[in-house]
Amino acid sequence: MNETLKATLQSAISENDSHLGRMRWSRTALSGQFPLDVDKLAGLSDEERAILDQFLYRFTKIQDSMGTRLLPALYHLLEGDDNPRPFLDTLNRLEQLGVVTSQESWQKFRDLRNTIAHDYPETVAKTIETINTLFDDANEFYQLYTTARESALERLS
């Protein structure tokens, strides 16, 4: 195997495992506060706010890293092709290969990430709804990452 590709995959997995661990920990630590509402959000302590920030930050980090490093490197490895191509085509193929659980699921979390990092300020109610959606669907996201991670580890062993 191409050593650079191998190093990219190993480094992406190591980075994302760390993010995933912190994301899961922060979700568990805050589980008593969910579903959030305006009053609960206002009542969070500084420490709980920091944990909530961590939950969102670690999610966006894994999402970005999967899109820019893990999935492109896996595609390159499996298809022997590193030519630039539309990301949706890459996703389609990775779904066929069983690396991505579903393209719809990927797209949903991509758009959720973009909403969290949104350019426009939203109402507090909408921000809370976005956070609740990520909290509710977190297991689906773990599955998305874990499936890609297992595919990468199979090829690295």
Binding site: Q107, K108, D111, L112, H118, Y120, E122, T123, A125, T133
Partner: protein
């Protein structure tokens, strides 16, 4: 405006499939300026979302649009007509300069 007829149709269909047939869509931002190039697709959607479901409806609309027109940077702002939503600067701007998509 710098959206093709197919793109406009794809956007309107996807938004109505997600938010209901009464939903209305406006294009605003740099894409309404014919002298510019590229740029995000900024959309304002006016719809009565199901309570607690607006984010899911928005994610669904974005997924459908991107499946039809390819991955693009799309910012979709939703207003349910409430004073909170309508007071946001972005909603006011979109309503003032936006071009309705039919």
């Amino acid at each position: 405006m710098r959206l093709s007829s197919n793109q406009r149709t794809a956007i309107v269909e996807s938004v109505r499939e997600s938010f209901g047939p009464e939903a209305k869509v406006w294009l605003f931002g740099s894409r309404i300026d014919d002298t510019k190039r590229g740029g995000d697709i900024d959309l304002l959607v006016a719809a009565k979302a199901e309570p607690g479901q607006e984010v899911r409806q928005k994610l669904r609309a974005l997924g459908l649009i991107q499946r039809k027109i390819g991955e693009q940077k799309i910012d979709l702002v939703v207003t349910d007509g409430s004073p909170d939503c309508e007071a946001l600067l972005i909603t006011r701007n979109a309503r003032a300069v936006g071009v309705p998509l039919e």
